[in-house]
């Protein structure tokens, strides 16, 4: 182009710059829009499925800048050559061919002619950038929308939940172990049970997982309650034995029955592992020894037993709620399956809601179901006990209630009332029924 007449060169340079700008605006917006759309899709996917990528998403705004790279490469490859610029100039000038001829022949004789002068007076083409840039704002809006969407956090995986369930139980067991309220054998059994619950929860987390955990926790509570009963029984029998032994003449005969009961109470304590830290005398006595005959030894023994029982009671008090604060089964965490009604009733038994199970149909009194649906089978919801181990055993009483002929009818009635209350409250229920019972009696 530098061989062209000087009168034409400024116009050609201006045209070359305009063509370069037009060509760039032809290429870059397409890449920028494509890049923005792709980035917006990536952002959308990350927002929905990849929370870890969330901090890096704002960098996607640089996509239009990155699009400059391929745009520049393509621009360089497609750039207008001097002959093409001259051809465009000639065409803009009406297709006279003068510029083309001057470029090809480099003939100076026509450089200052009227033809060449006319050829340099073409009008530059008008820039219309929005023809290509029009697609950019929608792409930017799409990108902004994709980034504006809140990050979706996926539900915790089964492993995490299983670990949480098992962790709560393990904490409870550790608490009991720390207070020396469980034996090594019991600890091993509990650990196996916790491991089983954990593995089951890893496979599938549903209501039964929490029910199993609650059941094990109830079982632990029942064990502790049994130990408390055994300690209390031992304290009572010890008190009765002491009263009988210090009764003066004929005390040996009178103390025979309380002594036998005390021995049974000690056996029960030993069986429940509550004599682990006791003195050797108590250990021997529980292992089948006999109560000492002399008063001094007997007094020492009773003092030792009283002290041990007091320590045990103290440890029991430190156990607290046995991990119940870790959370129990909450039915609201498990939404109903599709097609089932979400109405929870008014909380009263027989009036819908959880108290009636999943049957939330209205009471229509004779029009319960259509004939076709009458015998339709319905799958039971999950949460039923899967094995007998999921059920906590009924509290093992330390011994059968014993009637004392000497006791009055009134005192017998008082004793019965106190024992009956304890027994009723300690009775194990299926966890899913506990909330129903609680609601009923709380009202």
């Amino acid at each position: 182009m530098h061989t062209m007449p000087e009168s034409v060169q400024p116009a050609l340079r201006r045209l070359a710059r305009r063509l370069a700008l037009g060509l760039f605006l032809d290429i870059w917006p397409a890449w920028a829009v494509g890049g923005l759309l792709a980035a917006a899709l990536v952002a959308l996917v990350c927002r929905l499925f990849v929370p870890a990528a969330s901090p890096a998403l704002p960098w996607l705004w640089l996509t239009p800048v990155l699009a400059l790279l391929p745009a520049i490469i393509i621009y360089v490859r497609r750039a207008y050559r001097p002959a093409e610029v001259v051809a465009v100039a000639d065409w803009l000038n009406g297709g006279q061919g003068t510029l083309l001829a001057l470029l090809e022949t480099n003939d100076a004789s026509w450089s200052n002619s009227a033809l060449a002068e006319r050829a340099s007076t073409f009008t530059l083409p008008r820039l219309r950038p929005w023809r290509r840039l029009a697609a950019l704002p929608p792409a930017l809006v799409f990108m902004a929308t994709a980034l504006w969407i809140p990050q979706r956090m996926p539900r915790e995986t089964n492993a995490i939940l299983a670990e949480e369930i098992a962790g709560n139980l393990t904490a409870t067991v550790n608490e009991l172990k720390q207070q020396q309220l469980i034996t090594p054998e019991e600890e091993k059994t509990l650990e196996e049970e916790i491991e089983r619950i954990r593995k089951s929860a890893e496979e599938r987390v549903d209501a039964s997982s929490w029910e199993a955990a609650d059941s094990l926790r109830d079982k632990l509570a029942a064990d502790v309650a049994g130990k408390q009963d055994a300690i209390k029984w031992a304290e009572e029998t010890l008190a009765r034995y002491a009263a009988a032994a210090e009764g003066g003449p004929g005390a040996d005969d009178a103390a025979a029955a309380p002594g036998a009961e005390l021995m049974k109470a000690l056996e029960q304590l030993a069986k429940r592992g509550m004599l682990a830290g006791a003195s050797d005398d108590l250990q021997r006595l529980a292992a089948g020894g006999k109560l000492p005959a002399d008063a001094a030894s007997l007094r020492n023994l009773m003092a030792s037993l009283a002290k041990h029982l007091a320590d045990a009671n103290g440890r029991m008090a430190g156990v607290g709620k046995l991990g119940k604060a870790a959370g129990r089964f909450d039915p609201s965490q498990f939404p109903l399956e599709s097609g089932e009604s979400g109405v929870d009733g008014d909380g009263n038994p027989g009036r819908g809601g959880i108290n009636r199970g999943r049957g939330d149909a209205e009471l229509t009194w004779g029009k319960e179901s259509l004939p076709l649906d009458r015998f339709k089978s319905h799958a039971l919801p999950p949460g039923a006990a899967r094995s007998p181990d999921d059920w906590a055993p009924v509290v093992e009483l330390p011994g059968a209630p014993r009637e004392s002929p000497a006791a009055s009818v009134a005192s017998a009635a008082r004793q019965y009332t106190a024992a009956a209350g304890q027994r009723a409250w300690r009775r194990s229920l299926a966890p899913r029924h506990q909330s129903a019972v609680k609601k009923y009696f709380d009202k």
């Binding site: 051809a87 065409w91 297709g95 001829a101 004789s109 530059l124 023809r131």
Partner: protein, 344 residues
Amino acid sequence: MTQADHQLISPERVAAGQEKVGRVVGALRRVILGKEQTIDEVVAALLARGHVLLEGLPGLGKTELVKALSRLLSLDFRRIQFTPDLLPTDITGSHILQERDGRKDFVFHPGPVFTNVLLADEINRASPKTQAALLEAMQEHRVTAFGETRPLPDPFFVLATQNPIELEGTYPLPEAQLDRFMFKVDIAGVERSVLEEILATRVHGEPPPLEPVLSASDLHDLFALVDAVHLPRAVANYVARLVAASHPASAEAPEAVRTFVKHGCSPRAAIAIGAAARGLALLRGKPHVGFDEVRRVAPPAMAHRMVLDYAARLDAWDGRRVVSALLDAIPEIERGLPQTLEAR
């Protein structure tokens, strides 16, 4: 030879050539009133040494134009009135048995084709066999009779006329014959003002007397000058794309070509456009061809070379209209403006 080796014709030579051509054009415009465009086309074809087929209704000055041209160029001029009983030998000439010095011998009597300017009046009235007698003469500027080939005088032009409406007893020119005409010039009717001018200046319609304005050597100089007119590559590219797009199978062919054209133009059309554009450029006083010259000469050079389909006749499309659509569809420059730029 590289492009840099090309040199444009000097402005002085161009001016001199334009002046000579201008004399011919000016004289023709005095004879044929209101036909400036037709005259330019005929002169451009003449400068490109091409044959011209003039088609128009009777009385529009076709024959008068050719006659005036021959008088202006001081070239040998013959006229053949084509009739249905015209024989090929009536054109090319024939051997006649003659007795010389007691010996009888066949002597070749050259026909009217042995001339510089041949007016083939109403060429479509002769039979195809007779029309074919001109094939070799028009393409190769020679005649073969009885196994002997004889060259025709240089220059040699065929300026033929035909009437488009009298189809009874006529023989349409075959495609091979049409292809040999550089231009087919349509002679349109005259405007009212032109008629008025004719009535006012010519009592019996006789044209003004003409004197030769160019000698044979001047004409040969003009031919050399036309050959030296520069054809830029971009313009040649445009011509090539135009001719290529006239074929319906071409990827660049516009819809009109795909619909109405059966066979596109031959390479001879591209050569004719290039040559005629050079002649027109000289006529305009330019040392080079531009896109404008190509657009100007493309219709008369291409319209008669395209074989149209029957659909074209049903939809009243002729060659000129198809070429017009072609010119609208094919951009002059192969690589135009970016989409974000708009020519004002």
